[in-house]
Symmetry: C2
Subunit: 320 residues, 2 copies
């Protein structure tokens, strides 16, 4: 998987890797023959095409918050997750308290990613030395030489969840910023899973990841939710092909639950400044995501392709 | 002094309190007859009118950073100070490293002030429990019932200075966000002074404050710098009178060193969102400060009134 991009490459190749997708879908269907599929547990036919349109990174900047709230309120973005350690988390906590029906999870965050605008942990930093740099911020990212202590990961994840609960957020699910909790080995994934179980929250895991990371499947219990597929855009897609990419992905959906992981923000001063060290997942990128997922074109595709938009809350209910 | 406004009321009444200002100036001149005045130590006549135009709160938001940098680069804003615990501190640290001649101090910060956008300490939060709330942020402000531990204050101040030094900032001076270090009694002021001495940095103190807070003068040693006067605008000034207020203050300057404490930002989306819970020191307020202090009117007043714009770096050199 691509470390640099922070996204498992295996899940990205929706365009042009149809054979792989079909193979994965077959495996998934085989594994589920004995039990009800997630779609069936949600009350749909086994071959229904269910989509969660999921906005990541809420709390990161005001621009992200404003665009994501607009996306959620359009009804076309169904779910989102919030970064508790980020400076604009209080704005999202306030929104969550005032909108208890909004389907908001926590985007568990262990890296600070950006260069000119940074954040640090929710736990006391002297308790989690492996997670912070010499200035007290989260590492920008983890490299092959970053030694992460799994106990510190658990401590920090609990601190983030406790702060969210303390500030009135009632999360519907958990996922992971920059995929750190999924891509860094069995121990760290199991730490995340342990914390998810403690708080009785579903942790975002995708069946399509199992082939590359067998420890994911091996760690899960029978009550853990597993999403079937995920789609996220990648840097190789030129800006003018943005809508094409998503449109093709929507027309080529496999049966089951597919999570579109998207990143919404406005291409404004704040967002350009916060992301200016590179174009990937930058301000213009996020504006393109916003433009597509709030567009009439997307709304029409959902209808034409007979796609059912669902929420993490629906999945959590189905799992109970 | 007004707690709510976070600004000592005694220093605010430049307009309409001429008698008070004259009385204070007389006291100051009396106290300095035996030694050279600060103006003289700077190489000017005793009756010279020296002004530091000082932008506060750098690091708070990108909008503050961008407006303050523009102000500094106009030459009309001479000095500024940076809030190390704030999310946009890394952007200012990068600027400071690339502009070693910029006159940048540290705006020591022990409160998080805002509701929807917040920050926490540079020190591990379990080491400074009296300074943080139950969610790990600095208190919004200190009230009569907030019990602050002076040892924790020192620990946090050192952590802020160490982070700044570690990230390449070479501060010219220290001051205090929301005046917390000056307005909260002898012990906390002496803690700030001790830290300033350790790092051999001048701490912003104004002679005009001594009457209301005798512990300030009593705590200072013979080598400590004391600025003569300060001017900052107050909520009572209607927006349309902004330029009038500053213009009158500049025309009525007393001899000696006067620090204009100003707050620059653009009235943009980020700043409006970050300050939306109240208008005081909000986005429009800061845009008005920016408009005046980068204006041709201000430039002309400086020339007409024979005002010398000086820097904290000049004061620090003079004190050595």
């Amino acid at each position: 998987m691509s470390f640099l991009l922070g996204v498992p490459a295996a899940i990205l190749k929706v365009v042009g890797v149809a054979l792989f997708a079909l193979a994965t879908a077959s495996t998934a269907m085989y594994a589920q023959t004995a039990t009800k599929s997630l779609a069936e547990r949600l009350g749909y036919a086994r071959d229904a095409k269910l989509v969660i349109v999921h906005a990541d990174d809420l709390g990161m900047t005001h621009s992200v918050n404003a665009a994501s709230i607009q996306g959620l309120e359009s009804g076309l973005v169904t779910s989102a997750s919030i970064m508790v350690p980020c400076p604009w988390f209080p704005e999202m906590a306030e929104y969550a308290k005032g909108h208890p029906d909004a389907d908001l999870g926590l985007h568990l965050t262990l890296t600070s990613e950006r260069v000119f605008y940074r954040w640090g942990p929710a736990a006391p930093r002297d308790k989690i030395p492996s997670l912070v740099d010499s200035n007290g911020y989260f590492h920008l990212n983890w490299t092959d030489t970053t030694r992460i202590d799994r106990n510190e990961v658990e401590l920090e994840l609990r601190a983030q969840i406790e702060r969210a609960l303390g500030m009135g957020v009632r999360p519907t699910h958990l996922d992971s910023h920059q995929y750190r909790l999924f891509e860094n080995g069995k121990e760290i994934f199991q730490s995340a899973l342990r914390v998810a179980h403690e708080y009785k929250l579903p942790l975002f895991v995708v069946r399509d990841w199992f082939a590359d990371r067998p420890y994911l499947e091996a760690s899960l219990g029978p009550d853990d939710l597993v999403v079937d597929h995920t789609v996220t855009i990648e840097p190789g897609v030129p800006p003018e092909k943005w809508a094409d990419f998503y449109s093709r992905a929507l027309k080529n959906l496999q049966p089951g639950v597919t999570v579109f992981i998207i990143h919404l923000a406005f291409d404004d001063e704040e967002m350009r400044a916060a992301t200016r060290e590179r174009a990937t997942w930058g301000a213009a990128w996020r504006q393109r995501d916003f433009d597509f997922f709030t567009s009439a074109e997307f709304r029409a595709l959902v209808r034409e392709q007979n796609i059912k938009l669902v929420h993490w809350r629906d999945l959590a209910h189905a799992a109970r």
